[in-house]
Amino acid sequence: MRWLRLAWRNVFRHRRRTVITFAAISAGIGYMILMDSFMGGFELYSMRNFVDQEAGHLKVHADGYRDDENVMPLDIVINDPAVVMGAIQDKLGYDRMTARIVFRGELSDGVDQLPVVGIGIDTATDRRVFDYRGAVTRGRFLADRLDILVGQNLARDMGIDTGDYVTVVARTRKESWNAYDFTVAGLLGTSDMFIDMNSVVMDIGTADALLQMDGAVTEIPVRLAGMDAAAPAKRRFRQVAAEVPELAGLEAWTWRELGELIFQITGTKQAGGFILTFVVIVIAAVGIINTMLMAVMERTREIGTMRALGFGFKEVVGLFLWEGALIGVFGSFLGAAMGVAGALFLDFLALDVTNLMPGGFQSLLPMRMIMYTDVDPMFVLRAILLGIGVSLLATLIPARRAARIQPAEALRHV
């Protein structure tokens, strides 16, 4: 601490240069925190979205369903959903669940015909897990057994509006073809683009009849106390299913397992963000090295004087390291403050950037892109420590160079 005052004054000897160096490190740290918050927010938002619109926290399927999930098989099903749900409630204590039939079909308006994903929902219990009623952006929710909700993007693509008649064609459980005519009751605008672009929603009884399911369903989504409850719940389900005959032949999947692809994509994006952050930090480090080398050049004679006064190698290095540390501390805290403020502001704005995303992005990650952010305090702390560490490391080279200057030579320096 002996040289703190001297280091502090040296840091502010050239204000403009110091401001530029601060700016470099602040921008680096601020950018890092902003990126992380954005990624964190994006991940949290996409997870919640996925849970709220598609998956629930836990989904119960018949064994083997997930292996063929892409074709949405109707022969790997839960035959008696009421018994299963009763057993889940009794043995596991979960009461927020519903039964669904999810199937592949074709939607026709008499002119166009497009492949769709049909979802048969139990209008009485579906809201225990999902909220499609609140996602109706036009028209109304399902009221009649031949009502249908159409994803708003799908409706737009086909030129369908509420009140129109449409036909859903699908292959039944018994391998025959069947078709029903529906009235479009409403359009669905969830934040899940998969639903908005590809899906139609109907009453589960109608879906049962259309697909000749005989009371069977493809899945039972369950809502738990929170996102973190899913993994322990899966373990408990497996334990209980081994002992309870009603649950035999069933398996539970967590939302994370179900959305593996989505979270892999966000993971890749995070890795990309880190590479960019690394580049920014390198630029900041080069800025500090440059500033310090200039300081060493300008202060050569002064360093010679200090050596003559008795400053040893360690003391000269120490003095410069203090300067680097001060730049690091103030630059990092300033950057952290800017990053957190920027993240909070973006969260407040909640910009919809779906249309700014590159083409093909939505087919890869079918969701609405709202710029939410999630500031991770531990990451902010790590970023600050990294900023200080980078400053110290970047200062070490010029500091050692300064300390190696021969005093007599330094004193001759003009």
């Binding site: 002996r2 040289w3 005052r5 001297l6 004054r9 040296n10 000897r13 004679r301 002064e302 010679g304 004087t305 200090m306 050596r307 003559a308 006064l309 008795g310 400053f311 040893g312 190698f313 003391e315 021969q406 005093p407 007599a408 004193l411």
Partner: protein, 236 residues
């Protein structure tokens, strides 16, 4: 002037120094042997390029001789590591430079305090010593001025205070009046002579200033890197 005692402060033994500029060798000192005793007020004089600054730098342990040795107290400097030499400078040697060389971001007080911080003295001790020393050099009122707020003479007084505050074995002053007008320079010399008498500190100057020579009790004349004359005035 107080009597010089027999205790040797520094001794040079056949010191040579040769600078190499590319392939050219330039001898600056060609075998300088001299003894400086405690309390001396010695001027090393000679024309430019005679080796005065080089000799002072070698005595001050901030430059190494090409051959020969310097003995400070009883220790040959050649046997000391760089770190030990820094310790010798820190404890035993004060420097005064032609261009003052104060740290520009520190006040007069802080500049004088610097060697004491280096010696890890307590804040209380430092305050007492710095104020006393700045008072002695006549700058008791200018404690908080920065170098750029002081005249050349005032800055050199601060430099003298900085050299003396740690009560060193010797003070080495390289052309201390060269950047000052004659009146101010004389003031600085009187100050150093008074401090020499009061504190019994040994002073060694390099100079080619006539006035400085008049103040010195002992004159060591260098020419082409050799001592050509070494005389001590009987009284002044």
């Amino acid at each position: 002037m107080h009597p010089v005692d027999d205790k040797v402060v520094v001794e040079t033994k056949e010191v040579t120094k040769t600078y190499r500029v590319g392939k050219v060798e330039m001898p600056a000192l060609r075998g300088v042997s001299m003894v400086v005793r405690r309390g001396e007020f010695t001027a090393i004089v000679g024309p430019s390029g005679s080796g005065k600054t080089t000799l002072l730098n070698i005595i001050g342990c901030i430059d190494d001789p090409t051959s020969g040795d310097v003995i400070i107290g009883s220790e040959p400097v050649s046997t000391l590591s760089q770190r030990q030499r820094a310790v010798v400078r820190k404890r035993s040697i004060g420097f005064v430079f032609q261009t003052f060389n104060l740290v520009p971001v520190l006040s007069a007080y802080e500049n004088v305090e610097l060697p004491l911080i280096l010696l890890r003295e307590s804040p209380g001790q430092r305050k007492e010593k710095v104020e006393k020393m700045l008072g002695l050099v006549g700058l008791g009122e200018l404690l908080h001025r920065r170098p750029n707020e002081m005249s050349g003479g005032q800055q050199q007084r601060v430099a003298v205070a900085r050299a003396l505050v740690k009560e060193p074995r010797m003070v080495l002053a390289d052309e201390p009046t060269a950047n000052l007008d004659s009146t101010t320079g004389e003031g600085i010399l009187k100050l150093m002579r008074d401090l020499n008498q009061e504190l019994k500190t040994t002073f060694i100057f390099s100079t080619h200033d006539r006035m400085v020579m008049d103040f010195a009790r002992r004159l060591v004349v260098l020419k082409d890197g050799r001592i050509v004359e070494d005389k001590t005035k009987e009284s002044q």
